[in-house]
């Protein structure tokens, strides 16, 4: 149907029928788009507009909204709690991104080699990715329990007194970073593994014939040809990093002493704990602006390091 619609027929009939055919074409496209357009509109576009509208108001969810214009934005920009939340989020990303990328790359390189049990191992490393964050966070919270956790018990066997993994403000964020990297490692691994397998063997063989060392082959063939996959993984991980919430909510609840309060947990608290939906919406938009900015910078910057083909 689509084929006949786009293929022009000879003769003057084309002029006369064109608008009608175009309409039919648009209708066809619309029918195919609707299944994704409806949920997108319902659950993304309308809420986005609503949240922007809310961000211009003071609203405790139970009283009438009160117009404050940009008041929420101005208050948030001067607020120490907001600054701390952004700093904690950046701290999380600074720890999480290198860990998850390098760890995933290492795993991908390892599991790209011929070895027994390779398929099984790939599956095992991917398991945490498809496991619910609630399960993973509770498990790590239990393993890292300062008083009765397995990790501190094991450290105790060597005479080391383990820290208060999530009760000590210095250790709480590293604990969350570690648990997050552990969970997402498999995702990065799978994407990079696919990227590695797309690299033609001939390049490596040719370089080997020329006497290139393993390191040089990795540096000058594997890494550049893997860069599109790396780019994808970094963009996705960074966005995930900005939106970190589940693990924080479950493992520390933003504590101890606010040391792990990130932007999204701040948004949650503002809305549901403090009844300040307007300020929370404004903070959501500030986060959106930051993520958008970072993503644009990344897409612009990709020309410098991403090689296609």
């Amino acid at each position: 149907m689509t084929l006949t619609a786009v293929r022009p027929k000879a003769g003057g009939t084309r002029e006369r029928r064109a608008p009608r055919r175009r309409w039919r074409y648009a209708g066809t496209v619309a029918v195919f788009l609707l299944p994704s357009l409806i949920p997108l509109t319902l659950y993304t576009l309308i809420p986005m507009v609503a949240s922007f509208w809310t961000s211009l108001h003071e609203w405790d969810l139970i009283t009438e909204m009160r117009w404050v214009g940009l008041g929420n934005y101005l208050e948030l920009l001067g607020d120490a709690g907001t600054r701390a939340a952004f700093l904690h989020t950046l701290y999380f990303i600074a720890g999480y991104l290198p860990l998850v990328y390098l760890g995933g790359l290492g795993l991908a390189l390892l599991l790209n080699r011929a070895m027994p049990g390779r398929g099984l191992l790939r599956g095992v490393y991917f398991l945490p990715v498809i496991t619910s964050w609630v399960v993973v966070a509770l498990m790590w919270k239990w393993l890292l329990n300062p008083a009765s956790g397995v990790v501190n018990w094991a450290l105790g066997l060597f005479g080391v007194s383990g820290p208060g993994w999530w009760t000590d403000p210095d250790w709480a964020m590293p604990s969350i970073i570690f648990a997050s990297a552990w969970k997402d490692l498999g995702f990065v691994m799978i994407i990079l593994l696919a990227g590695l397998q797309a690299i033609p063997k001939e390049f490596q063989e040719a370089a080997m014939v020329d006497g290139a060392t393993a390191f040089r082959r990795f540096r000058h063939i594997t890494l550049p040809l893997l860069s599109p996959s790396s780019f994808f993984v970094v963009v996705i991980s960074l966005i995930n990093g900005f939106q970190v919430f589940d693990q924080v909510k479950i493992m520390t609840g933003g504590g101890p002493g606010g040391a792990t309060q990130v932007v999204v947990s701040q948004i949650y608290d503002l809305t549901f704990r403090y009844g300040r939906a307007g300020a929370a919406s404004a903070l959501s938009w500030l986060l959106f602006a930051l993520v958008l900015l970072v993503t644009i910078v990344q897409i612009r910057g990709q020309k410098r390091w991403v090689t296609y083909g």
Partner: protein
Amino acid sequence: MSQRIRVAASLAAAALLATACSQGSATKAPSGEGGKVTLRYFTFSAAPDHVKDLDKIEKAFEKENPKIDVVVETAPFDEYFTKLQTSIAGGTAPDTFELNYENFVTYASAGSLLDLDTVKGDGDPSVYAKESLDAFQRDGKQYALPASFSTVVLFYNKDLFDKAGVAPPTADWTWADEQAAAAKLTDKKKGVFGDFQPVQFFEFYKTLKQAGGEFLSADGKKSAFNGPAGVKAAQWLVSKVGKTMPTEAEIGGTADYDTNLFKSGKLAMWHNGIWQFAGLKDAAFTWDVVVEPGDAAKASAVFHNAVAASSGTKHGKEAWAWARFLSSSNTAATTRVESSWELPPVADQAVLSGYLKDPKPANRQAVFDSLKSIALPPVIKRQQEMQDAVTKQLTEAAAGRKPVEEALKTAAADVDALLS
């Protein structure tokens, strides 16, 4: 037709569809069979220990009011107000719901509550204890009916006291007595702790009053706790941690850690509410309660819960009948008393005296004695933020990350900012 118009048109169509969908779901009210009115009731105080008791009250109410079908929904206290707020915002508020004294002002001033005088039927207001009834009035309107109250007392494990040869607590005890006993009773090798008093807002405003201080200034416009009494109260709470009480790291975020510690016979003294009585019925040791020790003065925390009706309910009269029954009927009062499910705020002392008949704990009189000098929580509009700010600073001090004075100074500045 240009691309842009096409996109815009499909968007508009989708938006129309979306609004059409969303309108249908929220306004549909549940209606029972055969002309029965279904009345939703949302509560935090029933689960998990008293669901059956609430069920009993509900059955009795439905027997008297065959046209009303009460549907109970419960949530744990920590999530209760999040859910209530969201359901009000979403237009699906329950017809009737429980409110505590601290949150009553917020909901009443937001216009979320039905003025119960507009729907009330026959019923004598003098069945209620007057102070309780007055606590849930605002601008001369009765927005909720008091349903239960409870106090915080000092629980103690008598066996541990006897074993250590320490005289058990009396009503005359002061902080110093408590501290001396706690030190003697703590035996870390056996995992026994002498004392447990949570380091948070609710304990602080009370110990502050015990130390002779006030939380807010008389006009309620400024914090008043950052002074000698405040430092003394905070010091008292913080000084227990790591000495006679486990640290935050030792507790490790375990839910109901203190309850289980006491139940397992490894905690000598425990500051907690009388709602714990029912759960301790089968404890394998002798335990009792006394009025909390004071310092400059005695002061006990009183928690007050009430039943309110949503301003959006379509069944105002039924809502009032249920609120009235739940708060003051003989069935409700005796059920609460018999199951030690807090206390009914009724004027009839004969009903309350039934509370004393239960042999455990022996000194039940302490519950009534504690009412002689009470500390009511300070209430402001931004209540939760205030509670969190104070708890956060006290936790910092308890973990040794900040000196008490500095923590209080920060907390006072935070509270002042919330009041401005």
